[in-house]
Subunit: 239 residues, 2 copies
C-alpha cells in the first residue's frame, strides 16, 4: 500500500447471525486488506474476522489488545503501528470506539495526523431509536444507570424530568442480568403517560422491539426481558 | 407471504457511492421482497430502490408519501396498507424515522400491534461520533441550532456548559450552506481547550473527519467546510 496509513473502524455483528445481514461488502473487503488490528479482546476479534472471511489467514495477522486495562502510555505506543501500515480497530460488538476504550486510540490518531475512517455497521442505539417511533430530533444516550436501586430510581425520575423539559428522548442500557430489575423500576417510577421502548437482541432472530406507555406496560404482568442485550428509551408521547 | 405484515425500516445511502459500500445484503434482499413503500419523497425513493437492484420493477411498486405535509389522519390511514402486506419505510438519506416524519408511522405501528424491523445502514451521527475519539459513554444529539447568530452563539455557550458539567458530548447539524458560519461561531465562542469534531461527507469519496481543540482550529485560517452534509461534535478533552 502506498496510501498513507489510516485507522479503519471495523464494526462487529451484535450476535451470531450471518455477517451479510449486518455489515456491507466494504467491511469485509476492508478487513481482508489489513494485517494489523487493535482489538478489545483477541479471542473475540479472531472469531469476528473468521466470520468476515479471513479464517485461513488469522494466524498471519497481528493483534494488539486495547481495553480497560490499557494505560495511556500503552495506547500511545500503538501509534508506532501506523509506521508499518493501516490498522483496523475492532470492539466486542457493534461499532468500535463509541463507548469503549478504543476511543482513546481514535483521539490520539487525530492528534497525530492519522486519518480515521468509519465503516457502516450495526448500532444498537440508533436501531433502537429508529424503531421506537420516539423523538429522534433530540436525544441523549446516558450509558449505564446506577446498579443501586434507590440511586437508579432517582436517576430515572431525573431522566423523565429532562425528557419532558427538553423534549429529549433518553436512551440507556443495562447489564443483561439486571434488565428486568431496571424495567420494574421504570414502571414503578415513571408517570403513566411516558412512553417506554424496550429493544432487545437487535438484529438477531430473537429480536423484539416494543414501545408502549407506562400505564399499558403495567398491565403486561407476564412480560420479562430476560438476559439479552437491550436498549431502553423513555420519552414523552409525540401524539 | 403468510407472515404477519411488518414495517421494515430501509436505510438509504448518504450519497452516490456504490450501495455495497454502505448497506448489507439483507437490505437489498428485504427491499426486493416488498411491494409497498412509505417514503419521504417518491422521486428519491425510486432512485434508491433502483440502486438496490429493483430498477426493472419500480413501476410495479406502490409508493405513499409521508413527509412534513402529511397530517396525523393521513398517517393513520397508512395503517390500512398492512392489511395487504409488509411495508418498507424509506427516508431521504440514512436511517429512516430518526429525525424525520416517518417516526409517526413507527409510533402508530407500535400502537396497533405491527412489528417494526430495523435494518443496518449508515448513521452519520454514529459514524461521526465513533470517528471523533470523543466521549461516547454519554452524548446528546441536538438537531439544528438556531439560524440567528446571537441565538446560536448563546446555544453554543449552553452546549459547552452542559458538555463540561455532564461530561456529555454534544452533537448537532446545520443546513450545509450555513456550515462555515456556524463553524466560525464555534471557534469564536467556545473555550480554547474544548475539542471540536467536524465530520463531513461521511461515507463519500470526499469524506473528511477532523477533530482538534478550539485553539488549534483557530490557527487553521484557510479551513472551510463548504456546502456538505456535516455533523459537528463538541466535547471536553478526555486526555
Amino acid at each position: 500500500m502506498n496510501e498513507k496509513p489510516k485507522l479503519y473502524l471495523i464494526p462487529s455483528p451484535l450476535g451470531d447471525n450471518p455477517v451479510q445481514e449486518v455489515v456491507s461488502e466494504k467491511v469485509l473487503r476492508c478487513a481482508a486488506s489489513l494485517e494489523i488490528f487493535v482489538v478489545e479482546q483477541v479471542r473475540t476479534a479472531r472469531r469476528v474476522l473468521s466470520r468476515y472471511g479471513l479464517k485461513g489467514r488469522i494466524d498471519s495477522l497481528e493483534f494488539h489488545e486495547l481495553n480497560e486495562h490499557t494505560t495511556l502510555q500503552e495506547v500511545k505506543a500503538l501509534l508506532e503501528l501506523f509506521k508499518r501500515g493501516s490498522v483496523g480497530l475492532i470492539s466486542e460488538a457493534g461499532l468500535p470506539a463509541v463507548a469503549d476504550p478504543g476511543a482513546l486510540l481514535v483521539d490520539l490518531c487525530h492528534r497525530n495526523g492519522i486519518s480515521v475512517v468509519p465503516l457502516v455497521g450495526p448500532s444498537s442505539l440508533m436501531m433502537a431509536l429508529m424503531s421506537s417511533g420516539l423523538n429522534g430530533q433530540k436525544f441523549t444516550f446516558n450509558g449505564y444507570l446506577s446498579a443501586k436501586t434507590e440511586e437508579r430510581r432517582k436517576q430515572l425520575r431525573e431522566l423523565e424530568k429532562t425528557a419532558l423539559r427538553d423534549h429529549c428522548s433518553q436512551l440507556f442500557i443495562e447489564t443483561p442480568y439486571r434488565n428486568d430489575a431496571l424495567f420494574a423500576d421504570i414502571l414503578s417510577v415513571l408517570s403513566p403517560s411516558m412512553r417506554v421502548c424496550v429493544a432487545a437482541d437487535i438484529t438477531l432472530e430473537s429480536e423484539f422491539i416494543l414501545c408502549d406507555s407506562v400505564q399499558n406496560w403495567r398491565k403486561k404482568q407476564d412480560f420479562k426481558i430476560g438476559k439479552r442485550p437491550c436498549v431502553f428509551i423513555i420519552s414523552e408521547s409525540l401524539i
